[in-house]
Symmetry: C2
Subunit: 155 residues, 2 copies
Amino acid sequence: MTKANVENPNSAPIEAWARLHRASNTILERVEVKLKAAGFPPLSWYDVLLELRKAEGHSLRPVEIEKRTLLAQYNVSRLIDRIVAAGYAEKRKSSEDGRGVRVCLCPEGEDLLVKMWPIYRQAVQTEFADHLSQGETETLSLILKNLLSQIVEVK
Amino acid sequence: MTKANVENPNSAPIEAWARLHRASNTILERVEVKLKAAGFPPLSWYDVLLELRKAEGHSLRPVEIEKRTLLAQYNVSRLIDRIVAAGYAEKRKSSEDGRGVRVCLCPEGEDLLVKMWPIYRQAVQTEFADHLSQGETETLSLILKNLLSQIVEVK
DNA sequence: TTGATATAGATGCAATTGCATGAAAAATCA
DNA sequence: TGATTTTTCATGCAATTGCATCTATATCAA
């Protein structure tokens, strides 16, 4: 092993990781720019609302949102407050758990999902998918699916 | 095409993108936790210092750092100030450009790179590479290299 | 039960980020 | 040259994030 491999961040795994990080950040930023330009809130709002829509009864406990979005607890707590303040969801006291809250998707939230989707989809197409062949997209997706299955609980 | 494919974020490119984003975030967070636990600053400090070390004369203009790290201009400006305040680099007036600044790596900054590297490398190994075969890492890396070459200037 | 521990969620405060803008020098152009 | 535009970098202010901690309820063990 050369000296470079010991002291410099150029091992193959680090390089792969750096590319993963860089690609993800670059694309995220560009997608966010397009959402904002279209007058929409950040992608994290979409993620939360989408989880609500997918959920049984269109509602989830904050702790469930936390697990599904991988946001930190305090960020979920405050993000929910913002989404609720904007009228896209509402908070109700949990009936089963006295500590808990239940976040419910409002019709306005469903509308928002419907309206954001084409912009979101198009942005991902333009900033990401258009630069890969279909085979590359599939391969990438499969490798990442496998990776994620090993490192996270949900999804 | 089914209704679901029109209205729901489940097209193959979106799914691939979501996995990319999720994997990157999850791993980044865990790597950051390990760096912090070892008493080190965030990865962004490492990135900046590393770019300085790679650069001719161990120094760069902020605008160059911006291009290489993909950080926003105002974030570069303030990140540099923090790094300088911590004694890892210093700012000098640019000789060629009256508007400009030159950020120079200090010996303390080089030391920091050397000390952070094994922790960083190990964290990436544990949180990322250990969950992929060598072939998967290579494939992933190549696809992302190709993608990045199309969407960013530098690297 | 009761006492100890764990879980759910909120929040004060400090640090960081994003936005908008400013100042200064350079580059361009009429 | 002088005016205009562009580039470089900094910064005030608002929004968001991270950290630490708090309250309340639930769970568990004796």
